[in-house]
């Protein structure tokens, strides 16, 4: 009987102690052994379906992203966004935010040593100081002991604007009489032309001429991990930035330039990035949190909210695409004329690359001897457009391939057959007259068609498609 009571008491004590222990996941000893033959252990290595060493960490939730990193004394930063698309900044009053308990530092555009950056044109401020060029522009930043205090504090920053009429339509922006988004700079900030052969002769020799126009929309990269960075200085004046950058070399150069410090004093680490798709190829908040960290002597972290990911990072260029193509009655393309207008948004970012690639690729994977492709990129007071998976190629592919199908239908030729009549082959000259090698567009068409079970629907002349 006595023993029973004792056992009961012990059990109760244990239960009480257990309640005081924080809950924890069951223990799993490492490494987690997987008893399957792994291609990563095979030789030769090339061609193996080797598993990625990071996949197990991702699968177990063990990957440490920047938002998972907490350093002693770390502060959280938030950026005040303009919310107006075009304006002159009259004044920025940060006094109330600075007096908020828990707020450790505030910076504005005027605090940035060199307030401009960009991969080709340095037209983007780190934080807007005199002018706002789009609604997502940052105008001030706060570092506080919690994320919530920082978020509350930016609401207390009062910015007085003189609102200006925004330019929103790229075709409007293209017109000479439209006020300059970045006056005195012109709205057309990039132009590209490719001329090959004699387009007039090509059209003259064509039996049919087809014209069509296409447009695409602005889209976001939507990486699973939003932009995030963490900056810390040491007492020697050396700065370490953990960042979600896809290009650490350029990132370090931009941080050095905007802060006015030598590159040797900056370390940028981007060990794991949770999705890029082109959206993380340039700095965003890194110089801002570096300054906040310098001011406070504390590590400072800033992670974009999902809405910020949409309105404060780059997006895909909307394109307006006009196509004119001359073909013979048996389906050989003789000439093509293309005009592209890219909506560049508020800043250049990677527009120059997008403009060039879109222009070069706009003819499609086709042998066209007479070609003119001309492309313009213009400023608008909208979210900046930049690098995004394909750099203009998905847009022009939508246009040239829709155009191809419309022509095939009008000519009563099977769409596959029409493409096979015109595709590039080994040794073909590209629109820029480069001799192409390892060209397999024909093979890809035939393989896809065979796998899909593509059978010509139209006239008997399409029978030769698989010959």
């Amino acid at each position: 009987m006595a023993t029973d009571t004792k056992t009961k008491t012990t059990a109760l004590v244990d239960a009480e102690q257990l309640l005081r222990v924080p809950s924890a996941a069951p223990l799993v000893p490492f490494p987690v052994d997987v008893q399957v033959p792994d291609a990563a252990r095979q030789t030769p290595a090339v061609g193996q379906r080797a598993t990625r060493p990071d996949c197990r960490l991702h699968g177990l939730g063990q990957t440490k992203y920047i938002d998972d990193m907490y350093l002693p004394g770390m502060l959280f930063a938030k950026i005040k966004r303009a919310g107006v698309a075009s304006a002159r900044i009259i004044s920025v009053d940060t006094s109330e935010a600075e007096m908020t308990p828990g707020v450790m530092a505030v910076v504005t555009g005027k605090d940035i040593p060199c307030n401009s950056f960009g991969p080709s044109l340095k037209d983007q401020p780190v934080l807007a100081d005199e002018r706002v060029f789009y609604a997502g522009d940052g105008v001030a930043a706060v570092a506080a002991v919690t994320e919530q205090i920082a978020a509350d504090a930016i609401e207390k920053i009062k910015v007085e604007y003189e609102e200006l009429t925004p330019v929103l339509d790229p075709l409007e922006s293209l017109k000479l009489e439209t006020p300059g988004v970045h006056a005195p700079s012109a709205n057309i900030y990039g132009h590209k032309i490719i001329k090959k052969g004699d387009i007039e002769k090509g059209f003259a020799a064509s039996d049919h001429i087809f014209e069509a126009s296409f447009r695409t929309q602005m889209v976001e990269h939507v990486p699973l991990e939003p932009h995030s960075s963490l900056a810390q200085w040491d007492a020697n004046g050396r700065l370490t930035v953990h960042s979600t950058l896809g290009r650490i070399t350029l990132g370090r150069a931009d941080i050095a330039r905007t802060l006015g410090i030598p590159m040797s004093r900056i370390r940028v680490v981007a060990t794991v990035v949770g999705g890029n798709f082109g959206g993380k190829n340039e700095i965003t908040t890194e110089p801002v949190i570096a300054l906040l960290s310098k001011k406070t002597g504390r590590p400072v972290k800033c992670t974009f909210t999902r809405p910020e990911e949409f309105y404060a990072s780059t997006t895909r260029h909307p394109l307006i695409m006009d196509y004119k193509t001359g073909v013979t009655k048996d389906g050989k393309i003789l000439a093509r004329k293309i005009r592209l207008v890219l909506d560049g948004g508020a800043y250049c970012s990677w527009s120059e690359t997008t403009l060039g690639k879109a222009c070069i690729l706009s003819a499609g994977p086709y042998q066209i001897d007479n070609l003119v492709a001309e492309a313009f990129v213009v400023y608008t007071n909208k979210t900046m457009t930049g690098a995004m998976r394909g750099f203009g190629a998905p847009q022009v592919c939508f246009a040239y391939e829709s155009h191809m199908d419309d022509m095939a239908k009008a000519l009563n030729i099977d769409p596959l057959e029409f493409r096979l009549k015109n595709v590039l082959s080994e040794g073909s000259l590209s629109p820029t007259s480069q001799t192409l090698h390892s060209v397999v567009v024909r093979e890809s068409l035939l393989q896809a068609a065979q796998r899909f079970g593509w059978k010509p629907k139209t006239a008997p002349e399409a029978e030769g498609a698989f010959a």
Partner: protein, 339 residues
């Protein structure tokens, strides 16, 4: 009523930057046991590029993928790299990593040659061993050679290399030149159902035949293609950032910005086109960006095939497709009553 359609779209896409230099450098260190470490400034952004680089280094050294540890993306520790952009990692960083591994391998051969009593150019590395070509009975384990190099010869094997694609500047008047070192090619064919009463488009199946030169890791190529297609589906049918009259975004959140989920994904058949590019590492080119290029075009052509309407602006939302079907029916009605 649901109407079925099919659409085809092919594309070409370059590897690397347009004309501009976009170099990568790499360092390969061989450890005392014959395993290796690659230092690269590129960033793993979820695409599996570090695994590809490990496979390239492993192939060059004749060891397995798992034997190569990759240290990446730290400006204090890793050599210069232009980064994870322009579908360039496999081709440009891959070439740099291969060249670095080749140098380390030649240092290994210099050590192994006297051990095997032959000249260095008579050797080859495969299956974790260094063999005498044409007389494979004579061979050494890479670990023994690496250890001998370090402990006896005092020559720790380490190699560095860099690569930059060969380009020719474009003429500003005509745009003529060689902007890229190489290109990849692909075709996607989509099968869709379009509801002609609602305009709703259901993508059922996409067959994707992609060229990437040598597929260093076919599983990662498939992963890229599947991911690219999901982006292409969103671009074709759903995703759009909307602005109000004052230039502010109206839908900056995942509630009102609609992107595809796993439920919207079609059945995907990935087909890798056999190819070899002599300028790439072991014949490889790249595959990242090209996978999302032709998806929207194929889907839009399939919509046209299904219901006979050409949508000239993306995304082809149900509202837009429905309006186009109605307009087409009205035009046909008018034509009928006129005749």
């Amino acid at each position: 009523m649901k109407r079925r359609g099919r659409g085809i779209a092919c594309m070409w896409y370059p590897i690397g930057f347009t004309v501009a230099a976009n170099p990568s450098a790499a360092v390969v260190k061989i450890n005392e046991d014959g395993t290796a470490t690659l230092l690269t400034g590129t960033v793993e952004t979820g695409q599996g590029s570090l695994t590809i680089l490990a496979q390239i280094v492993a192939q060059e050294l004749g060891i397995a993928t798992e034997d190569v540890h990759v240290v990446s993306a730290d400006t204090d520790a890793t050599p210069m790299d232009t980064g994870a952009i322009a579908s360039r990692t496999t081709y440009v960083t891959g070439n740099a990593a291969r060249l670095a591994a080749e140098k380390a391998r030649l240092m290994m051969f210099d050590v192994a040659a006297p051990m095997l009593n032959v000249k260095p150019d008579q050797l080859e590395a495969r299956d974790h061993r260094i063999y005498v070509k044409g007389y494979p009975q004579r061979n050494l384990h890479v670990g023994d050679v690496a250890n001998h190099a370090r402990m006896v010869m005092g020559q720790p094997p380490i190699g560095s290399g860099y690569f930059n694609p060969a380009t020719v500047a474009l003429d500003p008047e005509t745009g003529q030149g060689k902007p890229f070192a190489t290109y990849v090619y692909a075709t996607q064919i989509a099968e869709v159902d379009v509801d002609d009463e609602t305009g709703d488009v259901d993508v059922l199946r996409i067959v994707a035949s992609h060229d990437c030169g040598t597929a260093i890791n076919p599983m990662l190529v498939e992963g890229q293609v599947e991911g690219g297609i999901s982006m292409g589906v969103g671009f074709a049918l759903q995703e759009e950032i909307l602005f109000d009259a004052k230039g502010r975004q109206m839908n900056p959140n995942l509630t009102n910005y609609i992107m595809p989920t796993s439920l919207d994904m079609p059945e995907i058949e990935v087909d890798i086109v056999d190819n070899y590019d002599p300028t790439g590492p072991f014949g490889a080119k790249g595959v990242g960006e090209p996978t999302c290029v032709s998806t929207a075009a194929a889907i839009l052509n399939a919509i046209h095939d299904a219901v006979g309407v050409r949508i000239h602006s993306l995304p082809a939302t149900a509202e837009k497709v429905h309006a186009a079907i109605k307009a087409k029916q009205a035009a046909e009605q008018k034509q009928l009553s006129a005749s």
